[in-house]
């Protein structure tokens, strides 16, 4: 006998067919510590061999699960130990980038993340060389993603790294100018980066992670939007309850897929990331959820409060549906990947300053935002510094993924295509912060980091 009733079955089918319910990613995290060598050729061979061996069946397994359960699994991805840790003894980090990109192509994954460095408190000599290689690494590979953690609540903000990342972002944009600065879409600057994040471009497999793990990111802004349409005009208590119930259902699917993938691949289940990740597709927008709550357009006064409610309710609903919750877990607000955000940014309703406020109450940060091509490296560093301060003081992850649109200015847009969407070039504050960034050094950790 059927355990569920027809109404529930149709509800699930509608979520998948009409409301864009999907599992956004199955990400296999792979430790590369045993690939370390003082010979870069040997190290990169070991990296390639290990990834292609462990992830050999990742894509086909994802496709099988997709077919059997009838639930789309949009991406299959790999995250690896931050490469700055693996390449430190032998240098030649660019050769690691090439080996990783080859491994991504052999396994057929959508992206491979972990061309990363952790330098919240300071640089090692290897880190400095590594970070300088990022523009070339992103310009000469297809599937590689990079991230740099420049701040933590425990260590404070490494302002030397913030300054360098402003320059690295500009160089990456210039090196990929023929592709609209696409390299910058694969580069994230973090505060309090998490070690088990399955989402790109910021995924890496942290030093405290197991040998190999399956992490799953769920999605479903469209499902939440449709659920809220059914409670129009009702109080915020009802809104929060509706989001919680929907998030629970979405997360249960993620948990089931994670367990199934883990069993079939013989790899331990890590975490489910409870994130609402939009896509540019119609009906799959986080901005439209906020508008459904009663805002004329995303960016209006009230937007931050609406997002705070949404983010909190998603976590409360999702946490009971999964045995292990981790990653970023919250609502994402990547401008170019969200039809509602694109529209709001285009007509000026949504500004960089409002987005910054929104990042105080959600994961992750200033994400997929195009800025004018002539924005200085120092101004980009200033944008990063503000966002890092929000993360450090609020003990949360924040990130910056901005794309200087080479040769373009406000009113134009950059087309990335696919899930990365279209980024309208947004105005930045023109006053200089160059002297502030030039100071260098480290902003101390906040007083509430001293918890011991």
């Amino acid at each position: 006998m059927l355990n569920v009733n027809p109404v529930e079955i149709i509800e699930t089918l509608n979520m998948i067919k009409d409301e864009h319910l999907d599992v956004r990613t199955i990400t296999m995290g792979i430790s590369l510590f045993d690939c370390v060598s003082d010979d870069w050729r040997r190290a990169t061979d070991k990296v390639y061999d290990k990834i292609t061996r462990l992830a050999e069946n990742l894509v086909s397994t994802g496709e099988q699960i997709e077919a059997e359960f009838g639930i789309p699994i949009v991406n299959k991805r790999i995250s690896v130990t931050p490469i700055s840790l693996i390449s430190a003894p032998c240098g030649h980090s660019i050769e690691f980038a090439r080996a990783l990109d080859r491994a991504a192509k052999t396994t057929g994954v959508n992206f491979l993340g972990g061309y990363s460095a952790l330098e919240a408190k300071g640089y090692s000599n290897a880190d400095r060389e590594f970070v300088a290689s990022i523009p070339e690494a992103l310009a000469t590979t297809d599937f590689l993603c990079s991230s740099v953690n420049v701040a933590t609540t425990k260590a404070g903000i490494n302002m030397d790294a913030v300054a360098q990342m402003g320059r690295v972002i500009k160089e990456t944009a210039a090196a990929t100018a023929d592709r609209g600065g696409f390299g910058c879409a694969k580069l994230v600057v973090f505060a309090n980066a998490v070690e088990d994040n399955p989402f790109m471009a910021g995924a890496f497999h942290g030093a405290g992670e197991p040998e190999c793990a399956i992490n799953v990111g769920v999605s479903g802004p469209g499902v939440v939007k449709c659920a809220l349409e059914r409670v129009r005009g009702q109080s915020f208590g009802v809104v929060a309850e509706t989001v919680k119930k929907t998030a629970f259902k979405i997360t249960r699917v993620g948990q089931m897929v994670a367990e199934e993938a883990s069993r079939r691949l013989g790899v331990p289940f890590g975490i489910v990331d409870l994130s609402l990740a939009p896509t540019p597709a119609r009906g799959d927008s986080v901005a439209h959820i906020l508008e459904e709550m009663g805002l004329e357009q995303c960016g209006a006064h009230g937007t931050t409060a609406a997002l705070a409610l949404l983010n909190d309710a998603v976590k409360k609903g999702g946490v009971m549906a999964s045995s292990y919750v981790g990653g970023l877990s919250g609502a994402f607000i990547p401008v170019s990947e969200d039809a509602g955000m694109i529209a709001a940014a285009e007509n000026g309703c949504l500004t960089l300053e409002k987005l910054e406020a929104m990042t105080c109450v959600c994961s992750v940060g200033l994400d997929m935002i195009a800025v004018p091509g002539d924005t200085s490296a120092e101004t980009i560093s200033g944008i990063i510094a503000d966002e890092m301060a929000i993360g450090v003081v609020n003990t949360k992850t924040t990130a910056v993924r901005v794309i200087p649109a080479v040769g373009k200015t406000v009113g134009e847009s950059v087309e990335f295509g696919g899930l990365l969407g279209t980024a309208p070039v947004m105005p930045v504050n023109g006053a200089s912060c160059a002297d502030f960034i030039a100071r260098g050094g480290r902003i101390p950790a906040p007083i509430h980091s001293l918890k011991n």
Partner: protein, 89 residues
Amino acid sequence: MKAVVTVVGKDKTGIIARVSGFLYENNINILDISQTIMQDIFTMITLVDTTESRLDLAQLQSGLENVGRELGVSISIQREDLFNSMHRI
């Protein structure tokens, strides 16, 4: 393996016959069947056991899609676990 076959669309004669015929041809046992009209739309939900079938779920899905095209309805087959996971604690 237990799976749920869902047929949704405009009602007409022969839907149940054609779908159950396809299941029979592919050695699939029907464990439970319910049919209703939901919001003016014909809905048939069938719990089946695919253990004896030579085809996997992806092949069955593709076969059922062809049947659905003939009948002008939408048919899907999915493992029962999906629905249990979402709606039962």
